[in-house]
């Protein structure tokens, strides 16, 4: 990934999410609007319709989102703009989710924390691997202690991360007696 690149979410992934949110609303809204449903069923369907509406708004936001990576940091522009400088990264988390029982065909979510707040991107973003590599390098330089889950997921992406506790437990580490 070249420095200064602008990354966007892939069209196919966005189309899938638009399809899911549309289908979800199509399945949950009509019974609510046209049938006198039981209050409990109504509450469940209402909650699901709300969830799919939020999911739709988030997918629209993603369509407008651009992630800019440069030597100084990473910024996300969309409905609102957030920026975290590499030198200010205070936390990195990398989670893997899959809806299948065998946990295949899943996706990853990178969370970066800094003084300005939190920044989340998913692996459907074009150039996600390069961004993870750059973020891991920044976390390594800052000597951050990552969760075992994040380290394992980084390893699965082929990103090496050496825990700062290799020469002894860091201050505040869970392994400190």
């Amino acid at each position: 990934m070249a420095q200064g690149d602008v990354l966007r979410y892939g069209g196919n992934a966005l189309a899938g999410d638009f399809g899911r949110s549309g289908a979800g609303l199509a399945l949950t809204l009509p019974p609510l609007l046209f049938i006198d449903v039981h209050p409990v069923v109504g509450a469940v369907l209402g909650a699901m319709a709300l969830l799919f509406a939020v999911f739709l708004v988030r997918t629209i936001e993603r369509r407008a989102t651009a992630v800019r990576v440069d030597d100084d940091g990473v910024s996300v522009t969309g409905f609102r703009t957030r920026r975290i400088r590499w030198a200010d990264v205070t936390g990195l988390d990398l989670a893997y989710y899959s809806t299948r029982r065998d946990r295949t065909n899943g996706w990853m979510q990178l969370t970066l924390r800094g003084p300005g707040g939190r920044l989340k991107v998913e692996s459907t973003l074009d150039g996600f691997d390069g961004l993870v590599e750059r973020a891991a390098a920044a976390a390594q330089a800052r000597g951050l202690v990552l969760s075992e889950t994040a380290m394992e997921n980084l390893g699965a992406l082929g990103v090496a991360y050496r825990p700062p506790s290799a020469d002894g437990p860091p201050a505040g580490s869970a392994f400190t007696a």
């Binding site: 979800g24 449903v37 409990v40 969830l51 295949t104 692996s123 869970a174 007696a177």
Partner: protein
């Protein structure tokens, strides 16, 4: 997480629709319908059957309509809280099920609590004292629990509780409370009567859970991070509670999805043996008599419990342990 929940629900909805379709087709598969069964029963007793009345009933209950129409009426009714009409009890399904569903839920929850409370400490002891006399003894008990059929254990415990402890056996409450409104005395009677069914139904689940948690905990106790934590001076108990135990809890969480329907359906035979007023025996009767709406509602309820249980356990696992398994694979 919104992305995960939305995608997961989009898997749940078609699953439930497919299950409802399959359930409806299956309960319609046997030749004839409830009225045919009723006619056969009456004829076997030498009683006359009024054909015009039969036709009237068939039209009233919509049994003469095409299957797809019956399905849509059934599934649409469920959304409005109308689960159909029980032909055998001659009243709405929701009225028939009534207290039985609540009692079944109470029994299921107490069984789950029993399974967890018993299996958790035993599995931890077995794993941390591997190959000790205690481990061997508890393992033997576990295998006995797995190997003993529930209905047999029910019969043995019923006999022992009656002969040795003089306890009232059968049912979920003393007979004098059967048609009484709920009171503290009635609730106390239910709690007393819950003990044996809970132990009987929970025994096999407890044994399976002990074996699984023990195996997982043993795996974790041999990993480098635990050995390193001990080597750095972390107290053994603290190291155990903070790391390996948490990691080995995954099977507990992932089992929620299977536990609920297993207990609900697995309790049917025990309920018959112990005369428990739960949903199990009613489901068996409704399937035998082709009481389609009652049977269909029960089966849908079990399916719903399974789907919700699996959803909750998947959600908990996604929150607690969002790790990639190297045997699987990520994709965009």
């Amino acid at each position: 997480m919104i992305s995960y929940v939305a995608r997961r629900i989009m898997v749940m909805i078609p699953t439930l629709i497919a299950i409802s379709l399959i359930t409806f087709v299956i309960i319609q598969l046997p030749p004839g319908d409830y009225l045919t069964t009723l006619v056969n029963e009456l004829q076997s007793r030498g009683e006359n059957v009024d054909q015009s009345r039969l036709e009237f009933l068939r039209q009233t209950y919509g049994l003469d309509r095409p299957m797809w129409e019956q399905y849509l009426v059934w599934i649409g009714g469920m959304l409005t809280g109308d689960f159909g009409f029980s032909f055998e009890y001659n009243m709405p399904v929701s009225d028939v099920v009534g207290d039985r569903l609540a009692l079944t839920m109470v029994m299921s929850v107490s069984t789950i609590v029993f399974i967890w409370v018993v299996s958790f400490p035993i599995a931890i002891y077995s794993a941390t004292h591997q190959y000790s006399w205690g481990d061997y003894g508890l393992t033997l008990l576990g295998f006995l629990g797995l190997a003993t059929p529930n209905f047999l254990l029910a019969l043995v415990l019923l006999y022992l509780s009656n002969v040795w402890f003089g306890m009232s056996i059968g049912g979920l409450m003393d007979p004098q409370y059967l048609d009484q409104p709920w009171s503290w005395e009635k609730a106390g009677s239910v709690v007393t009567h819950l003990i044996i069914p809970t132990v009987v139904i929970g025994t096999s689940g407890t044994a399976a859970m002990i074996r699984r948690l023990r195996a997982n905990l043993l795996d974790e106790l041999q990993k480098q991070y635990y050995v390193t934590a001990l080597a750095k001076g972390l107290p053994r108990r603290k190291a155990l509670w903070k790391y390996p135990l948490r990691m080995s809890l995954n099977p507990f969480i992932s089992d929620i999805g299977n536990l609920l329907p297993q207990i609900m359906s697995g309790a049917a035979i025990v309920s018959v043996v112990m005369s428990l007023p739960t949903t199990g025996p009613m489901l068996l009767d409704s399937l035998q008599s082709q009481d389609m709406y009652l049977a269909g509602s029960f089966l849908m309820f079990l399916a719903l419990l399974t789907v919700i249980g699996v959803f909750l356990s998947d959600l908990a696992l996604a929150v607690l342990d969002p790790r990639i398994r190297l045997s699987g694979g990520a994709s965009r």
